[in-house]
């Protein structure tokens, strides 16, 4: 294990870097896109609700690997040249956003309807009421399940390995085949994932406690 660590340190760090970068990009964009579709789903407008529903049902129910492959193969063929890292990160973002949309929607719907009615009667527009009154309360409620989504996201970023994304898993595969020490290679990779996910997990718990007061 020490041999793997010392001998392939730079590959591991590079993998960690790509995994982190992909995760952070996907986390930010999937939260934004997910929240947007969550709002679509609770809008009074029927057509918007259907658009939200279709998006979520499609991307929540297709394997991540298939979505990533789609972007890796189809997009460069017909639309634009993108590398494996970009394709994988786009796939990861879209896939995760559908789960985040469902989580945030549940949060919005668990906020008492009186909050929206109070805000509207007070003169706020629908969007002002959403932004200042409903969404802050919804996010507070969904922090624990959102934390789960974020941890899943980091782990799911291993999909990059299949589209030449140079992430941790990709490096793990290549180290395993170079060193022929399969067990230790994947143990080390596993530990590197823990380096990201454990602090994230603790941070979400901390946030949950802080906002509970």
């Amino acid at each position: 294990m020490v041999y793997i660590l010392t001998h392939y340190w730079s590959e591991l760090i590079q993998g960690l870097g790509y995994t982190l970068l992909s995760s952070v990009i996907a986390l930010v964009f999937s939260t934004v896109i997910g929240t947007m579709f969550a709002i679509f789903e609770v809008l009074p407008n029927h057509a918007m609700r259907i658009i939200g529903r279709i998006y979520i049902e499609i991307f929540r129910n297709i394997p991540l690997l298939v979505i990533a492959m789609f972007f890796y193969v189809i997009i460069p063929m017909y639309v634009a040249k993108i590398d494996g890292f970009t394709a994988g990160t786009i796939g990861l973002t879209i896939y995760t956003s559908s789960f985040i949309a469902e989580t945030v929607r549940a949060g919005i719907q668990s906020v008492d309807n009186g909050q929206m009615e109070g805000a509207r009667s007070n003169g706020l527009t629908y969007w002002q009421a959403m932004r200042y009154i409903v969404l802050p309360q919804a996010f507070k409620i969904v922090i624990p399940p959102l934390g789960n989504q974020f941890i899943n996201l980091v782990k799911n970023s291993s999909v990059l390995a299949f589209v030449a994304g140079f992430d941790l898993m990709y490096q793990g595969n290549s180290i395993a085949s170079l060193s022929l020490d399969t067990i230790n290679s994947y143990v080390v990779v596993g530990l590197f994932y823990l380096v990201i996910t454990l602090p994230l997990s603790y941070y979400m718990q901390h946030l949950e406690k802080r906002l509970a007061n």
Binding site: S121, N122, Y132
Partner: protein, 246 residues
Amino acid sequence: MSMIEFHNVEKYYGDFHALTNINLTINEGEKVVLIGPSGSGKSTLIRTVNGLERVQSGQLLVNGYDLADKKTDMNKIRKNVGMVFQHFNLYANKTVLENIMIAPRLVLKRPEAENKKLAMDLLDSVGLADKAGNLPSQLSGGQSQRIAIARSLAMKPKCLLFDEPTSALDPEMIDDVLNVMKNVAADSSMTMLVVTHEMGFAREVADRVVFMADGQILEDDRKEQFFDGEPTNERARQFLSKIITH
């Protein structure tokens, strides 16, 4: 000048006929108390006045805008028509002071210093200046409702709607809230439409009493006629005798 005008208004929830042929005019500055048994449509009626419920047909003019018209911008009406709810609906994520300041800041763009001063004055007038920094979850029901009234007043509305403002309160809290409402009513230019079972309040403050049952207005009297004379409608008489004896 009339503030609120219902002309042949009909409202349905699916097959349920919630409001039937409502005709009602409330003038600027008038105080009207709306009573009736539960399920009679009084809450539905008051909620149509600021567009929380849409009406299906007829004409509903509020401050000159027709709410039956889908193109009417509800936000314009709500600037001038405040509402106080049975369950207060204070913003759970905002302090008391922020509850009062947020709408004037976002909607009226009132300058921050002026906004804060007015909010504190209002808190003072409802006797809760010391609660400015508290969250709604730290308040009693009576305190919450007084804050909710202050929040509505901060928009300087022409008209205030009260939907059973004391029904969710402990008995000893009710008077505090009614006193605040009486102070609001002392402003002769403020139009008030109040759904309540507080007959003492109605006797003291109301100009008119409107009785509803089964989605219809059955009685619309001057206060004196309603309490000291006798309602002409049989159901109104029965209802009145029941709540007065309590």
